[in-house]
Amino acid sequence: MTVRRVMGIETEYGISVPGQPWADPVLTSGMVVSRYAREHGLRATHGAWDYSDEQPLVDARGFEMPRGQADVSQLTDAEDPALANVVLTNGARLYVDHAHPEYSSPEVRSPRDAVVYDRAGELVMREAVQLLADQPPGINLYKNNTDGKGSSYGTHENYLLARDTPFARVVRDLTPLFVARQVITGAGRVGLGRDSERPGYQITSRADFFEAEVGLETTFKRPIINTRDEPHADPDRYRRLHVIIGDANLADVANLLKLGLTSLALTLIEADEVRGALTLRDPLLALRQVSHDPSCTATVELTDGRRLSAVQLLWEYRELAARHLDREGSDPDTDEVLGHLDRVLALLEDDPMSAREDLDWVAKLALLQGYRSRDGMGWEDPRLRAIDIQYSDVREAKGVFARLERAGRVRRLTTEDEVRRAVQEPPVDTRAWLRGQLVARHPDSVVAASWDSVVLRGVGGAARIGMPEPTALGRAETAAALEHDDLAEIVAALAAD
């Protein structure tokens, strides 16, 4: 049993020009991407994401070289800010998604690495804000998911799943987890209802925006389980579970548990060991009941008639995992996740406020309660809403979470050094290594890229390297090929491997 699997997080950041709420967010998001890219000598190629879905494989490892097929000039001349897009040297993608700058982390293989690369994204956005500050009033970015006025934007998790796991089983056995895990993943939100029409505080920023149990949409009628089936990998072997229901986490423990717990549940589901035992009678109602109850005592109804709290539901998954674990053994990544999970669940059970060093929604609530008690503010006070927004400001000096963490009031699992390194270097054990290394070593030759391909020029035309296996083409596998200076030799060495 393990929490390890291929995964990643994509985050659309909130964007704001001080004093100019009318500023065009597509344009400003494009400026964020282009400015960061320019500073780092990266090609902010406009539209040069390889959307090609053809994957004819020349050999078993998936390399092909259709020479001269890519028209390079076409890929680089557009200046539409909506299409600003760049692949970073760490293998991540920084681009404009709808009306937000988005950082999509590189593929990693453990929850801990996912946390590190998600935090690397925060540093990328922080640097972009610093760079843009030289043109007052600058552009500010927020790692949050709602403006509290009816708009929401996502933080999505992605998990690679075995293709042979029936999707109906995923829907059945993962839905209760998504309802229950809110008490861990919540970023906290001042205001109830999509437009914050009722004063109060709730656990997650996204719960009020979900209207369906299952569906393909992501921008309206948002479903608890998103059915997008776009594996970015060999579709015969893999499915990518695209999770749209999480909040953006800043606290390491919350983020680690979000990924670890979900990956663990997926392992149970792949082994068919949940078997509908935790199915909820009304998941959408339960979603709001849990989010709207910071005391964590509300219970939700299961189809078998039981009523369990979110924490009790999570203990049920934990018990199933324990049995699986006894049989299959564990590993250090799993032990780390379970250690924190057991600790945090016990805290939530005892007194939710005692989890304020671990979870965003509790850390934020403790702070807001401090203000309420000191200054006698009601939940409708705009100062509380301002703090809610500023909690996720990516600037080191202005971000309230950053200040809490620096004051030692939030438990940190990562080091600043490893996060800084993750801004530059890709994870060593996925194809992100090859993608990032090609960008770092040959920035002018990568004319397009996607999760499962890189298109190079300067090899007597163009070469498209297919990467259908996410765990292949890591550091060890590509070391010899990347030693070459000449691109054609690199491509030939990779293909020959």
Binding site: S151, F220, G339, M353, A366, G370, A386, I389, Q390
Partner: protein
Amino acid sequence: MAGREQVRRSGGGGEDEPGGEAGFGQVGATNAARDESLDDVLADIDGVLESNAEEFVRGFVQKGGQ
């Protein structure tokens, strides 16, 4: 379960109002209020908060995303 015996942090318990429609978002402030070092944090954060909260909140307008 072994994990339930993990160290528990101080903070008391039971002060929170119960869940249910009436209690939504209405957690009591008693826990945080007892935390004296929190006052220092509040003072620290006071110094960086946006000066005009109302205008700042009004100006934070986003387009919907995914």
